[in-house]
């Protein structure tokens, strides 16, 4: 049962070989798949995530981040994203990019309340701004890849509403990317 407080306890953490976050996520997701009578889920994405984590030492600018909600015995692995930091052409400073996002199987097989969908979306948007302020992934800009027309529609509506609610957030679109520029100006709001 999710309420308007379904965002409580959200956390975005880098998965490493040491913390085994990805293994724990996969174990929980396998349980979800069993409940739906499914076996395989997004294997290409998960294999790519395993590879990024395995090669962490040689690619410090890239990482897999896991979105969790809750804690201890009630910890839910809600999704993961592939982030990287790069200096891009025609852009001043560094940019943190969320190049893909994958959610837990239950988001695919169940009907999910609007409040929870909003909470997960906010987790990746706010979470990315937060990651852009961490020393190892510090960046001036944050952008998320919008894969299809649904992503664009959601992002457009979100950006329109966010500009009205908080004009200090520099949110815009370029191509298939949602840009949040000059994130350092948001440090005091984190």
């Amino acid at each position: 049962m999710f309420t308007s407080k379904s965002y409580l306890g959200l956390k975005l953490s880098e998965a490493t070989l040491d913390n085994k976050l990805l293994e724990k996520l996969e174990e929980q997701w396998k349980g979800q798949l069993l409940a739906y009578g499914e076996v395989e889920y997004a294997e290409t994405y998960l294999e790519h995530a395993r590879d990024v984590i395995r090669r962490q030492a040689e690619r410090a600018h890239a990482g897999v981040y896991v979105l969790t909600r809750g804690e201890d015995d009630a910890l839910f692995y809600e999704g993961l994203a592939h982030f990287n930091v790069a200096e891009l052409p025609k852009t001043t400073g560094k940019t943190l990019r969320a190049v893909w996002i994958l959610l837990a199987p239950r988001f695919d097989f169940d009907d999910i309340e609007e409040e929870e969908l909003a909470a997960i979306s906010a987790g990746f948007i706010y979470g990315g701004i937060d990651v852009a302020h961490r020393p190892e992934t510090e960046a001036d800009h944050y952008k998320l890849f919008l894969k299809n027309i649904g992503d664009r529609k959601m992002a457009h509506g979100m950006a329109y509403s966010l500009r009205a609610r908080n004009p200090s957030v520099d949110v815009a679109f370029k191509g298939n990317w949602l840009h949040i520029d000059n994130v350092s100006t948001l440090k005091d709001q984190l």
Partner: protein
Amino acid sequence: MNTNSKLFADIYAACLDSVHEMGDDVKTMSWFGQRWHPNTKLAQNEDEDVAECVSERTS
């Protein structure tokens, strides 16, 4: 993640506005409604500007 911050509250409220406005169309989002085909291909090079994903909606 400080979910008690005003910034989070603003982003959450903006997301909720948009999700509400989309209605059932929210299922067309790759995040929430896309079931990934086993043959989905991903860009392996993080320096590419776009994750070149090929997916198939099977649900």
